[in-house]
Symmetry: C2
Subunit: 268 residues, 2 copies
DNA sequence: CAGTGGTCTAGACCACACT
DNA sequence: GTGTGGTCTAGACCACTGC
C-alpha cells in the first residue's frame, strides 16, 4: 500500500464530500482524522467488554492489521487513550486496559491528604458501612444520573476513618439496573477500592468524574458520626462519576473533616 | 542524513556509554530521548525570555534545522509542551507562547462557579484592593516560596465580588526581588487578569499551581469584609504557584464564600 | 499562492520483558 | 531470541491562514 490517502473503513465511513450538506443544521465540516476513528473503534471494544479491565489488548501491529491502517496511526490512537487513563502502556509487555484494582489510584479519586507527614503514611482508610438500601430515586438524584424520578436506585452510606478517627461521611447513589445484586455483604467483605469491585462484579469502570466543593456546617447527625461539634465546618464534595461514553453511573456526596487533612488539587 | 542514530547536540551531550559509570550514586541509566532534550532546549529559551508570552516561535522546520533533528522530533517536543499549556498551536499560523493575557483562563485558575446559571454569565469579578504592603517574610511564608525568614516580600490583600456581592477575600504573597516595583496603583488600574500583569510587567509567567482546600469558620474581620456572619463556613484555598523551572513565585490564600457558588474540579 | 501545523505512512533501530 | 512498546527519520499529502 503506497498511495491510498484514506483507506475505506468497514464501520466508519471516510469523510464525505461536504458540498451537498443534507442537514441544514449549522456547518459541521465532519472531518475526522483516521486515528480518531481508530480511537473510536478501540473505545467501542472497551465498552463492549471485548477487553476487560486489566486485560492485555492486541499489539499495535495486530490492531493495525485489523483496522487496515499503519502501526503509527494505531499508535497515535492508543497514545490518546493512554493519556485519558483508559489504557496503560508497558514497554516490552504490551498495552493493558486500565483498572482501579491496583496501583496508586487512592490518590486519583480520594484527594484528602494529611496536612503533615509524608505521603500515604496514613495507611488505607478504615471503612464502616452504615447501610445499603434500595429505594426510588428522588428528583435531585435522578436528574444527574440520567434517570427518571422513582426509578430504582441504591443508596450506600459509610464512614471512612484514618487511624481510628472518622474523617469522611459518604452517601453513594447508584442506578439500580447496572448494580442489581449489590449487597451490604459484598461491600463489607471487600477489601480493595470500591471502584475495583464495581469493575469486577458489575463490569462498570469509572473513567472520569466532576466534583463540586463547598464549605458547610455539620448538622447534628453528621457531627455525631464524625465525632465533632455541631456547626463544625466541613468540606462538602459532590461527585458525579462517568463510565465509558460519558454515561453518569454514580452520584456521591461526601462530608470531609479538614481539621488535620486537606483536599489537594493541581492546576495546570 | 540517513543513518545517524543520535546526531550530536551542541549543548546537550548524547547519551554516553553507561559502562564506566563514574558516579557511584545509584544506577541512573541516564538515557534521555532526543525529543526530551529538544523539549529542554525550547524550555530554556522560554525561561531566558527569547520568546515572550504571546510571541510566535519559529516553525517546526526552523527549529528542526537549528537543533539538527528531524521535524517529527521537534513536533513531539512541541506536542508535550503544548499539552503542558506552555505553548499553543494554531493550525496555519504557527506555535505561540501561552499567556494569561487572553482567552478562557479565568476558568483554569479561578474555579469558583455559580451553582445555578449557565457558564460565565456572572461576568468578570469586581476587584477591590485592600492594601499592598512590602514587609519581611514570616517563616511560614518564606519556606514555601523558597526564601529565608525576613527576606523582603510583598503582601497584597483584596476582595473579589460578583454582581456586587463579595465572594472572595485573598492574601497574595510575592517575593520582593522578582516583583520589585509592584505598586497598589499598578494593581488598581489594571483591568485584566493579575497573572497577565505579572507577565507583561515582571516577566513572570505562572505555569502550574498546587492548591490545598479546607473548610474553615469565618473570623470577625473576614466576616465583615465578606458580609457574612462570624463563624460562617468558608472554603480556604491555599495556592502555591510555580513559574518555569518549578520555581515557586506566589503564595496565595483565599477564603471563598460557597453559599451560592462552588469550587469545580475534574478528576480523570 | 506560499507557509504553517496536522495526518498518514513506511522502515529502521533502541529499550525492555519474558522465555 | 522473540515480541512488545518507544524513538527517530523521511517524505507525501491534507487543512487552515493570510497575502
Amino acid at each position: 500500500m503506497l498511495a491510498p490517502q484514506r483507506p475505506p473503513m468497514a464501520t466508519t465511513p471516510p469523510p464525505q464530500d461536504p458540498s451537498p450538506d443534507a442537514s441544514a443544521d449549522s456547518v459541521a465540516p465532519a472531518f475526522s482524522p483516521l486515528y480518531q476513528q481508530i480511537k473510536g473503534l478501540i473505545l467501542r471494544s472497551l465498552q463492549a467488554g471485548e477487553w476487560k479491565p486489566g486485560d492485555l489488548i492486541p499489539s499495535e501491529f495486530e490492531l493495525a492489521a485489523r483496522f487496515k491502517v499503519s502501526q503509527g496511526t494505531v499508535r497515535k490512537a492508543i497514545d490518546e487513550l493512554a493519556t485519558d487513563n483508559l489504557l496503560v502502556r508497558r514497554q516490552g509487555k504490551g498495552t493493558f486496559v486500565a483498572t482501579h484494582a491496583e496501583q496508586h489510584i487512592q490518590f486519583r479519586f480520594l484527594r484528602l491528604l494529611p496536612d503533615q507527614g509524608t505521603l500515604d503514611d496514613q495507611g488505607p482508610a478504615e471503612r464502616r458501612i452504615i447501610d445499603c438500601r434500595r429505594l426510588r430515586a428522588p428528583a435531585e438524584v435522578a436528574r444527574p444520573l440520567g434517570l427518571r424520578s422513582g426509578d430504582p436506585v441504591l443508596l450506600v452510606r459509610r464512614v471512612l476513618a484514618f487511624g481510628g478517627t472518622p474523617a469522611i461521611l459518604e452517601e453513594i447513589w447508584l442506578p439500580g439496573g447496572p448494580f442489581k445484586g449489590l449487597t451490604v455483604d459484598a461491600l463489607a467483605s471487600d477489601t480493595g477500592p470500591m471502584y475495583a469491585l464495581f469493575e469486577s462484579q458489575f463490569g462498570v469502570r469509572m473513567v472520569r468524574a466532576v466534583e463540586k466543593l463547598k464549605a458547610v456546617a455539620a448538622d447534628a447527625d453528621t457531627a455525631e458520626r464524625l465525632n465533632i461539634a455541631e456547626g463544625h465546618p466541613l468540606l462538602s464534595v459532590e461527585r458525579l462519576s462517568y463510565t465509558y461514553n460519558d454515561t453518569p453511573m454514580e452520584l456521591r456526596r461526601g462530608l470531609y473533616r479538614t481539621d488535620t487533612r486537606h483536599y489537594r488539587n493541581e492546576l495546570s
